[in-house]
Symmetry: C2
Subunit: 188 residues, 2 copies
Amino acid sequence: MNQNKDRRTAILEAALGLIAERGFHGTPAALIAERAGVGVGTIYRYFRDKDELIHAVFQDVEKRQIEIITRNYDEERPFRERFVHLCRNIYHCLMEKPLEFRFLEQYFDSPYGVEQRRRLDNLSRPFGRLFFAGKEQQVIKDVPDKMLYSLVFGPIAFSIKEHNAGFLQLDAERIDLFIGALWDAIRR
Amino acid sequence: MNQNKDRRTAILEAALGLIAERGFHGTPAALIAERAGVGVGTIYRYFRDKDELIHAVFQDVEKRQIEIITRNYDEERPFRERFVHLCRNIYHCLMEKPLEFRFLEQYFDSPYGVEQRRRLDNLSRPFGRLFFAGKEQQVIKDVPDKMLYSLVFGPIAFSIKEHNAGFLQLDAERIDLFIGALWDAIRR
DNA sequence: TTCTCCGGAATGAACATTCCTTCTATGGTC
DNA sequence: GACCATAGAAGGAATGTTCATTCCGGAGAA
């Protein structure tokens, strides 16, 4: 029973790492099994097929990330502070876990991305509340939420890609500078 | 000779469309050949292999896009005006050609994306000059170029994805609203 | 012994790529 | 103008490879 959990986890982690490094199509089941220290057949004891495995990896990653993003988040603080807090957490968790970031990147631009809607819904819930109140109190631009998301998530994702590719060095100071610019984009 | 060009073009267009619709891995060579009205073997008369074909499609798309983005662009106009002009053109060409947008999207988040560097270098040249002068004259934030690119291209790409997915209706008015927010993000 | 869970060889499907046959266009000959 | 020879292009069946997935013999627990 505990053994079950370990094997399942090992498979999930192996899949995450390999897919991040080599893409969906560069990671045959045999390779996942090898890295997980498990027989090929075993994968199919825990997951119906490769698709189910990949969705499971996604859900796993998503769960962890949401947990980190809303850590220490206090809905009572002022808008700008809350905004900065959420953004910092996002940077933190995406940059600490480059594998997870690369996995998500691949996941969303692929047939699996049908689930994208879900992810945004889940990940952006705290932002949604922030935006709603901010618009009401005329602190944030009165434009559709999706536009605000684009203004925030777009640059964050883009800059982390540049960072991971080695084109842009992101340290705490620069991240804060950047978050300041994001705030300028959405504030009234 | 003319016939050659037609066949090559037909193959490129078929590949572009199919890859945009079904992804790299949903488009076997046989399918490309079929849509192009050509025998499978013929593809290999024009392109060494599938990779070369895909890179060729990319270069083709890139060339067209750069042409559109810098259309009617006047380096003598004021910063904000030039910025708005370039952004509008980007929206224009990416939204007019959803197939090309979807192709590019796939291309960059894939092993082929090694070429990403080139694309940014090419596509962003007019922006690079704009940013340089803007920083010098203290109109634009004095942060690394890559940060400015992230602040501009990130949201544009993100919002077009949302648009194509049907979550965000982008008309001319909203696009201008959006570009205004982008300007807020990068201006001093 | 029996019941579960594993491993990994075996299977079959999907493809990229090759290779040989068939077609087409060109131009030389009568 | 009719005919044919030849080279280069096109087509698509055949090949070989790379997987996902299955299946069955075996190890270990109960």
